[in-house]
Assembly symmetry: C2
């Protein structure tokens, strides 16, 4: 395998460090130390910490999007089963660290939306893409008769996105997946019918 | 009126600065500058930034608790009306800044729970007190016949707390109160019946 470039190392290790410590909480020095590259390497490869932030957001979203393709947008599976699988996949992604790191997009919303307008706009775009994928899945559920005709898929998709962000935030504080499991129970018993 | 002490100025202005910029994003220098006091004043009054963080959390929670007493725990009003008033009061509290600062407890969950175990524990305690207050209100709704006998008040209260945190987080990113208004619609039409 080819040796990974310093730029790749900074992105991969930098994403991990920012996910663990927060964007403001992870200094450029922390990032280059974790990547095992010289400090100057960061400024060679990134115009600013904001530019680096936008790249790690895209890197994290690439994995999120793969997960969405396998679940919400997977036309091979029954629609509501896909939504359940999507919620489970969010838990599985974060559970190796005991849920303590939370969703990177939620973390950026909480701490970086005031520092960088470019980051805030990118996070809002990503949330819109997730919401559209949930709506896509709910519309399929209506067509399949799993939800009643006239079900408001757009509003429900916004609600699922928002409540999942809340559940991942509480899961991070409590270091427990219980909030996501509860969300799943309430959604399927009360909201999605 | 007595002149406010440097300690009070640091707490009041420090809370504002941390709420705007995040806990890691607000340096001790930013805080003393906002308070208009000498840098040494901070170390005179607080053993650490963590100790200061715990005090501003209590200061913010005092206002949250007053709001809970006026709404969720106000036995003079019909129970579900109190819950609606509580959701509205959260929006009103944050709307002067266009929702951009979010809930201080959610912000601390996202960014500081990894940096300070004492802060994380305090935030978890506060969430539990809010959850108990929502459950108190829902139990009153069951007694008043506004919710069916056997309604699972504890689980629903956890869900309301979690979803409200999500709505305030999305409201912060989107700079709009729409997520909280949507939460209110979905809760009252689907979950609380």
């Amino acid at each position: 395998m080819p040796k990974s470039s310093n730029r790749d190392k900074i992105l991969t290790e930098g994403l991990r460090v920012v996910h663990e410590r927060g964007f403001a909480g992870a200094s450029v020095r922390d990032i280059v130390q974790a990547a095992g590259v010289p400090q100057g390497s960061f400024t060679n490869h990134f115009a600013s910490k904001e530019a680096f932030g936008l790249e790690i957001i895209d890197l994290y979203f690439a994995a999120s999007w793969a997960l969405i393709q396998k679940t919400l947008r997977n036309d091979e599976l029954p629609p509501l089963q896909r939504l359940g699988a999507y919620l489970d996949a969010n838990t599985e992604r974060l559970s190796p660290a005991g849920m303590r790191h939370g969703c990177l997009f939620g973390n950026f919303s909480a701490e970086a939306s005031e520092h960088s307008e470019a980051i805030r706009r990118r996070i809002v775009e990503i949330f819109a893409q997730v919401q559209q994928s949930i709506a896509y899945c709910l519309e399929a559920a209506v067509r399949a008769g799993e939800l009643p005709a006239g079900f408001e898929c757009g509003e429900a998709a916004d609600f699922v996105l928002t409540s999942l962000q809340g559940a991942l935030l509480l899961a991070k504080a409590q270091r427990s997946s219980a909030p996501v499991e509860r969300l799943k129970r309430v959604l399927f018993s009360k909201v999605l019918n």
